[in-house]
Amino acid sequence: MTIYKDNCKLNKIFILLMCFGIVGIAGAFYFLPIKVWINILTANFMVLSIGLFGFFMLAVTNIVGAAFVAPYRKVLEAMAGTVPYLGLSMLVILLGSHSLYEWTHADVVMNDKILMEKASYLNLPFFSIRMVICIGLWSLMSFVLVRKFREQENFPERAERIQESLSGLSAAFMIIFALTYSMASFDWIMSLEPHWYSTIFGVFTFSGLVVSGLATLILVLIHLQHHGYLKNMNLNHYHDLGKLLLGFTTFWAYIWFSQYLLIWYANIPEEGEYYVLREHFGWSWLFWINIVLNWVIPFLVLLPRWTKRSKTVLQRTCLIILLGQWLNLYVMIAPKVMEHHGVMDPTITWIELFIGLGYTGLFLFIFFKRLSQSSLVATNSPFLEEGLALEQ
């Protein structure tokens, strides 16, 4: 089967998940309105990052001419194809900007010397413009990559030349992506704590993007193979993805620690407040579980060779990692916003679960729609043969 048939039953499940999301949002409005915006920001940023992982992976493998992704390149294209939609839904947080961002309150800014000086950057009009530009650029770049690949599929005689032009184009895209993703993380998440700053923050959110994207990719591939698609992929492909996952969870831990160590060592009040808030005031258990889920468990599990070649083990590890990455974002976002609103509720309730599931449903719905729009085989890719014949 080379074409993914849209599965009605699955679509119904995704729509049901989205309904859960709406119930979750409604429930949050009723019980604790600030949780609406916290959860929308967390969940939407996460699924948008997973979509962007598709774009990132395509661009990186184009630059270096890597063949190992060729067998599932179309899956990455479908992931990249979700970016415009999830980017659009990200704009919703502009409605909640007043609840989320302290610097949108004119009276607070007036009485704060630091915020006054930052006001030329942290103001709502400029913030909105940057947001639209970031999302616009990501959508455009994903669109161009996917279109070029489609052209390659349709014109075999130009396939090689298109691949060559893609590597130059991807290099330019990668620079734009690095700058915009870093800026978006600064704007959307770091500015929740406008006094605090960390120059490595963009790298940290990027490491989360790669880890959660890889985990999603592996889960989707296992699902597709289970249903009889992508028959010519073998365990060597999973082994490679498992190795990348092991590497990038460790990269995530490395960056997490780099940020922590420097702030702990320097011990400057305006930097340290970030960790003081999270290691105390009831947040510490989530703060430490985050590291267990995102690094300790995946690292120990994925270390031996056989676990990376076992679909069951990979599947479970990926689910743990996705949960961990969501928690990672939640711990980045929630504490300060709650403190700002005078509530401290370091618990994960059904509201978090429902809104999380809602965005999962939204992502999967768009993803599988995009996947069903063209063949699952990257026809005419100069790397296809080499990618399929992967040996360990």
């Binding site: 620690f257 922590y260 160590l261 702990w264 060592y265 011990n267 270390l303 031996p304 060779r305 040996e391 360990q392």
Partner: protein, 172 residues
């Protein structure tokens, strides 16, 4: 007593793999195969059991980690405590970078040395080069000539038939 080996030297890795498969089929024990680069899948044809090298790496890395942490604890808490910015003497976070580096150092070096020792690539551990070509661009199958039942002539012919450019006897 010197051991004798029959060497089949190939220009092409695929010829060599075909020959190795044929030898396997007619039940001739292959002593070893020497190649200038790792040939994928060769360990399957030779039915070599999976390498135990990862275990060595794990033990070496864990030892490095433990040693680095203990040493730093001894230095900064027991032997010579220094107050750095009012931080506690036993500051785990400050120990991590060095512990990480020592883990990698131990893991990497001990793995490499264990590999060289086990594969007899260090001269003093019984090394010696079976055929100089294998260090450059040839693929060499070595068969141990054990007793009279080993028919040198017919096996040489088999090797030649599979494209061996050179068949020779080596005493080591």
């Amino acid at each position: 007593m010197n051991k004798k080996y029959l060497l089949g030297v190939f220009h092409d890795e695929h010829d060599m793999i075909r020959a190795a498969k044929e030898l396997k089929k007619i039940k001739i024990d292959i002593h070893d195969i020497y190649t200038p680069f790792p040939v994928h899948g060769l360990d399957q044809y030779l039915e070599i059991r999976p390498t135990r090298l990862p275990v060595v790496t794990l033990i070496a890395g864990t030892a490095g980690l433990a040693l680095a942490l203990l040493f730093q604890y001894w230095v900064s808490v027991i032997d010579w405590p220094i107050n750095v910015g009012g931080k506690p003497f036993n500051s785990f976070a400050a120990f991590i970078p060095i512990a990480f580096e020592i883990t990698v150092l131990f893991g990497a070096f001990i793995t490499v040395f264990a590999f060289l020792m086990r594969s007899k690539l260090i001269p003093i551990f019984g090394g010696g080069i079976m055929h100089a070509g294998a260090t450059q661009d040839r693929f060499v199958i070595a068969l141990a000539v054990k007793d009279a039942s080993f028919d040198v002539q017919s096996i040489s012919k088999t090797l030649g038939a599979f494209g061996a450019s050179e068949v020779s006897i080596k005493e080591a």
